[in-house]
Chain length 353, copies 2
DNA sequence: TTGTATGCGTTATCAC
DNA sequence: GTGATAACGCATACAA
């Protein structure tokens, strides 16, 4: 039977501290600290070896908390996400993580699960943990909340959406261009009536911007177009409106395409169409979407893929530059989307058949 | 000499500390600390008000780092996730977050993105940040790595999969029962040949367990069954094997069902089937899966839904109990899955048609 | 009821 | 080159 080293309480064998290492190496804490911080030049090779041995023997890991307390930077970066259920967020997160790793930051990920209260709560927590900066992709945070960060000298970078009355670095999709790209594609494929479907704008600027871009494009092209607002929590009215629109087009007859403003909307609409038209719904009605979700290929749905990974990466880079002291005015980085054409938007036979 | 009231750089208005608050309220730090920790009874109402005013005026937020340093607990809980791309992980995470919130912990989320090196690195980082406990859902961590936590008195709870040679609390799906449930359903629906499709086991115990359960069930039922191992990074051979199997059944003819061990496998297989049989693939071949992904409904695929949210919640509860000093032997919590029947596994016409 | 002093694990300042 | 020693922001034993 192993009595496991004879820990005094037998419970929690306290982790070694810098003092323990110093004692073990027969030296002072300063030298240990120096070793840890790579001030390797000023250490005699002999002492250095003793330190290394001691560290290894005690399995010593410097305490980031204490470190952060002392030097005022703990390498923590807050990442507030409105909805991890949306693959967009996960993909952005991947970029964020990669960049953080590369630059030596540790992302403190906060998932608000679409609850505005959670967003506020997490934002508070983040200041409490003294993150050095925050990347925010939120649903309903207001300007004031973010101001407390900026005013406190903590840089904020916005992702996907801006916050009214608050100017900071922001990175996201080039929505106008992406929407135009998609709409033009539909028109080129011969659709002469496009229905844009989007969630209630609320505080989410990207929704508003996309819808505006849709109107602009449709207007410029002289194509018929309209917008339906869908509340995912209460989708029935919007779905009925869609049905009505499709039925009217059937009678007309007109070639109509549905254009979902993001993946969650697209899924909801696709489910409805499948229910109404059966497994072959894609051949009856064209559905296109911003966000290239994993099931898009399965449904044969044309999409605009967002450069999610790059968005995440850029966000961290922006933050990093600020943390390094960059003092320039707020920047905006709009990355282009990529049209992924699939069968759903290929020319359909006219609905009369 | 106090120079520091004149923010020299004007840039980062240093956050208020407990000392600032004490000065502002005209009292000592102790009273502030008492106020913060709810020892509200021992404070004169008058002082209490001054403190409240001071805190509000300075927008003071206690520094969790310093706090944690002093009392030895920082309320941080590590959550290592193998793959956030898998909706399973996100759902578990939701449960974890909710429970953490309820119990006053802050989850430090680490996403290894299926890279074993990342898992190791993050585990190191977690000890560095002195998390009080860890919840682990990993791809390839070995026993030794986790031992350093346990030995250091940091409780570990495993999710979905166990780690060979390492005994701790673990919570996940009741795999044997779930697989039996699904398999029995298939047999009852008249399928007389079931193909189980699973990723290479590697260190992932749940894969092994599911496959074993499949063999057991199929054996007990006296039904024909086989297993195909698919490497998602190199799926061609497995997909060819599936094709061959389906072709053979066509000739026989036999009613064969495909049973994917999890969502990523199901998606890969579904994509392949769609490519091969067109949009109506569901009517040609039956596909069932563990994990009820968001597109399952869209594809009309029968699944076993995991109690993901509860899994996450239980994991945190287990951890919490350990953190409160519970000393019982390692526990195992296996939660039941729920069969979600959809059209894909309804009796199909025999393949000859 | 309130305040003083000490220490948590680290880094920074300054001696030697 | 090396090592005391004083903070960092907070909690607590102890004194008042």
């Amino acid at each position: 039977m192993h009595e496991e080293q004879h820990p005094m309480t037998s419970a929690a064998a306290r982790r070694a501290t810098i003092t323990d290492v110093a004692r073990e190496a027969g030296t002072g804490k300063t030298s240990i600290s120096r070793y840890l911080n790579g001030e390797t030049s000023v250490l005699s090779p002999e002492l250095r070896e003793r330190i290394e041995a001691a560290i290894a023997k005690l399995d010593y890991r410097p305490n980031q908390m204490a470190r952060g307390l002392k030097r005022g930077r703990n390498r923590l970066v807050g990442m507030l996400l409105a909805d991890l259920t949306n693959p967009y967020s996960v993909e952005v997160l991947q970029g964020v993580e990669a960049a953080c790793h590369a630059l030596g930051y540790m992302p403190l990920i906060c998932h608000a699960a679409n609850e505005i209260d959670m967003e506020r709560r997490y934002l508070q927590l983040l200041t409490t943990y003294r993150v050095e900066g925050v990347i925010v992709n939120a649903l309903g945070v207001k300007e004031e909340l973010l101001q407390t960060f900026s005013l406190g000298g903590i840089p904020v970078v916005l992702v996907d959406r801006s916050v009214e009355g608050f100017v900071t670095d922001m990175v996201g999709l080039d929505n106008p261009e992406a929407v135009a790209l998609a709409t033009r594609h539909l028109v080129e494929e011969g659709f002469d009536d496009v229905v844009f479907i989007v969630q209630p704008f609320r505080r989410v600027s990207s929704r508003r911007v996309r819808e505006a871009a849709f109107r602009d494009t449709i207007g410029a092209l002289g194509t018929k177009g309209s917008t339906i607002v869908i509340d995912l929590a209460e989708a029935a009215p919007a779905l009925a409106a869609i049905d009505a629109h499709l039925d009217a087009a059937d009678a007309n007859p007109q070639r109509v395409a549905l254009f979902a403003a993001n993946a969650p909307v697209a899924l909801r609409v696709a489910l409805h169409l499948k229910e109404r038209y059966g497994a072959n719904w894609q051949q009856r009605v064209a559905l296109m979407s911003i966000d290239d979700s994993e099931w898009a290929e399965l449904a044969g749905m044309t999409t605009v893929r967002q450069p999610t990974y790059d968005i995440g990466r850029r966000a961290v880079e922006f933050l990093h530059e600020r943390l390094e002291g960059a003092r320039m005015p707020a920047r905006e980085c709009l990355l282009p989307g990529e049209l992924v054409v699939r069968s759903s938007t290929r020319r359909k036979q006219s609905p009369g058949t």
